[in-house]
């Protein structure tokens, strides 16, 4: 199983680098984890324009002038975990809702009619509301209407992931939130999620179950972002070696200070986030890099083609939010409020092709 280095050691690795390490990493034909450490280090900050250029070159060469688009559907905000940073935390007095299968389909069809072909089904972590049967039923209902269905729900067993794969789910995202074991304990007060190791092993279970794509990510703002980025590099490296037939993506949810929301423990600026994205692109040329609507339109527009490969668009983070325009009980407030059409237009104006569909369910094995 994947064992990340101690967080203290990760921090040290990102500190013991010099500008010559960064320069070497920028020209390395096959960058190593040490090159990644140099690129995300403080020494790397001075090289942000060079990193942007290298990252842009690689992204263009590997992904072309395209950007994938998807939208999340929030199925449920019930959650049995108490996580200090999350709007869905069991302690929070918010309006709880779990969509019925019909309601979920209705939400999905709204997105379908808006042109989305790739959806991400999201939920809080409560087995009583969202379990494998529920997800299976939704997947079977939606599989013929969408090109790709990803999930971001509670960690599951390999067997359950495999059932969902056969039902038409193609990708699993499970974010570790933080690779800092001590901090993890402090912010995950109770619930199944408080088990650091079980969560850490989840991406491997998804890959083993046959998922086409597995997503990992840190929640930026909980601990030292440079060390988190390096941990992602280690995790990615390990996953690639173990599961060479799986595609991997990294997301970068970033907490920002906002009224009524959890105050980030570490401030991660847009510059920091960009450095992390560029560094990971240089480190791993083929990894999918996701930037969600948490980030503002200005930032997303600017980053187009520089490293990210997939954007969400037109997102609402409350269950049933597309049908009712009701944002009560949302997980976080979005920074980019534009519709799919508006985001697509922006992408086209910048000379890129907005891609809503890059896989066809018809090709997928439906049973074994």
């Amino acid at each position: 199983m994947f064992k990340p280095p101690e967080f203290k050691q990760l921090i040290a690795e990102t500190q013991n680098t010099s500008s010559s390490d960064v320069e070497r990493a920028l020209t390395a034909a096959r960058p190593t984890i040490h090159d990644l450490a140099a690129l995300i280090s403080t020494a790397g900050e001075a090289y942000l324009p060079q990193m942007a250029r290298r990252s842009t070159e690689i992204t263009l060469a590997r992904f072309g002038r395209t950007t994938q688009l998807y939208a999340p559907i929030y199925l449920s905000n019930y959650c049995t975990n108490r996580c200090v940073y999350c709007g869905f935390s069991a302690d929070n007095l918010i309006k709880r809702k779990c969509l019925t299968i019909d309601e979920a389909e209705k939400e999905a069809m709204i997105l379908h009619n808006r042109g989305f072909q790739h959806i991400l089904l999201v939920s809080g972590e409560a087995e009583s509301a969202v379990d494998v049967e529920y997800m299976e039923a939704i997947a079977l209902r939606l599989r013929d209407k969408f090109a790709a269905i990803s999930i971001e729900i509670q960690p599951m067993s390999e067997e359950h992931y495999h059932r969902l794969f056969l039902a038409g789910i193609t990708a699993v995202a499970v974010y570790q939130e933080t690779y800092d074991r001590k901090m993890y304990k402090e912010v995950h007060l109770s619930g199944k999620k408080s088990d650091f190791d079980y969560r850490l092993e989840t991406p491997a279970r998804g890959a083993k179950a046959g998922m086409r794509e597995v997503g990992i990510g840190p929640l930026l703002g909980l601990s030292d972002w440079r060390a988190e980025g390096l941990a992602i590099g280690y995790h990615l490296d390990w996953l690639r070696k173990e599961f060479w037939q799986t595609a991997f993506t990294v997301s970068f949810p970033r907490m920002r200070p906002a009224a009524g929301e959890f105050e980030p423990l570490h401030i991660v600026s847009e510059k920091n986030l960009s450095q992390l994205i560029f560094a990971l692109r240089i480190f791993d040329q083929d990894v999918g890099l996701l930037v969600s609507t948490r980030e503002e339109a200005r930032y997303r527009d600017g980053m187009l083609g520089l490293g990210p490969t997939r954007y969400s668009a037109g997102s609402c983070t409350a269950p049933g939010g597309y049908g009712s325009n009701n944002t009560d009980g949302e997980q976080f407030s979005v920074g980019d409020h534009r519709s799919l059409e508006e985001v697509s237009t922006m992408i086209r104006n910048k000379g890129f092709d907005p891609v809503c569909k890059d896989w066809d369910k018809e090709f997928q094995v439906k049973s074994l």
């Binding site: 020209t27 090289y47 324009p49 060079q50 690639r240 600026s269 847009e270 960009s274 600017g302």
Partner: protein
């Protein structure tokens, strides 16, 4: 230290024992190379002209013998040879070679994969000789190969590592050691493979047919060590365009003006 199937090797040079002018020269060359793994082949005893026994010639030092299945044209023949080799050597180490084309002696990927799967189940430590195909390397690894041995160029051609871009991918992706085999005709070729990050190289013809095989064996040992040291030290990229060795900071114009 190189580790294959739990055995550690301080030398990253493997030697083939074919084509030497005499068993005495072979023994001295192997000695001079400091190698710890030597390959041997199985043949019918020539009853009219019995050869010296190679195992007793090499028994003076502690080598790991890596019997090969040379001559096998398909998985079935290779498996038969493997069992004979195990009976004769008493070890389970095996360099799996399946070469249906007697002209090029290029390895058969389909039969090699089949034979690897069977032999691993039979308890062999299988090091398959293969073309430099990254997907094949991963599939061989998945069925339990202890290492993979991609070719640098067709055997005996001394052309060096022509398959370098594929071998590079294999090195980056494989969890098992990568031993570059075949085509290595000069110490510089061996150093190049090691600089790329190969775990070891296997050399035979370039040493056995050299003017002075003993001196050449030493040269290869030095090259392998130099290449390995360079790899560990971290090599700079070879660039198509010239670049100043002291880059001027910040003069590149990626437009990051949008950042907060």
């Amino acid at each position: 230290m190189l580790r294959i199937a739990g055995t550690e090797f301080s030398s990253r040079l493997f030697l083939g024992t074919g084509k030497f002018s005499s068993s005495d020269v072979m023994a001295k060359a192997i000695e001079a190379s400091d190698c710890q793994m030597v390959t041997v082949a199985l043949r019918r005893v020539d009853l009219t002209n019995p050869e010296d026994d190679i195992m007793s010639t090499l028994a003076k030092r502690e080598y790991t013998f890596l019997p090969n299945t040379s001559g096998a044209r398909d998985a079935k023949e290779a498996i038969r040879l493997a069992h004979l080799a195990r009976a004769a050597s008493g070890t389970s180490w095996l360099k799996l070679e399946v070469t249906p084309d007697p002209r090029t002696l290029l390895p058969d990927p389909v039969e090699t994969l089949k034979a690897t799967e069977t032999l691993v189940k039979d308890g062999f430590i299988v090091l398959p000789y293969m073309n430099a195909d990254p997907i094949l390397a991963l599939k061989l690894q998945d069925v339990g190969a202890a290492a993979v041995m991609p070719l640098g160029s067709p055997i005996g051609t001394n052309q060096g590592v022509l398959t370098d871009s594929m071998i590079e991918i294999i090195i980056d992706q494989a969890k098992v050691p990568v031993v570059v085999d075949a085509g290595i005709g000069a110490p510089s070729h061996a150093a190049y493979a090691m600089e790329m990050g190969a775990d070891a190289v296997l050399v035979n013809t370039a040493i056995s047919v050299a003017g002075d095989p003993v001196a050449m064996a030493r040269a290869f040992a030095q090259a392998v060590e130099a290449g390995r040291t360079a790899y560990v030290a971290g090599m700079g990229q070879r660039n198509k365009q010239a670049s100043a060795s002291s880059p001027e900071k910040g003069n590149l114009s990626a437009d990051l003006g949008f950042l907060e």
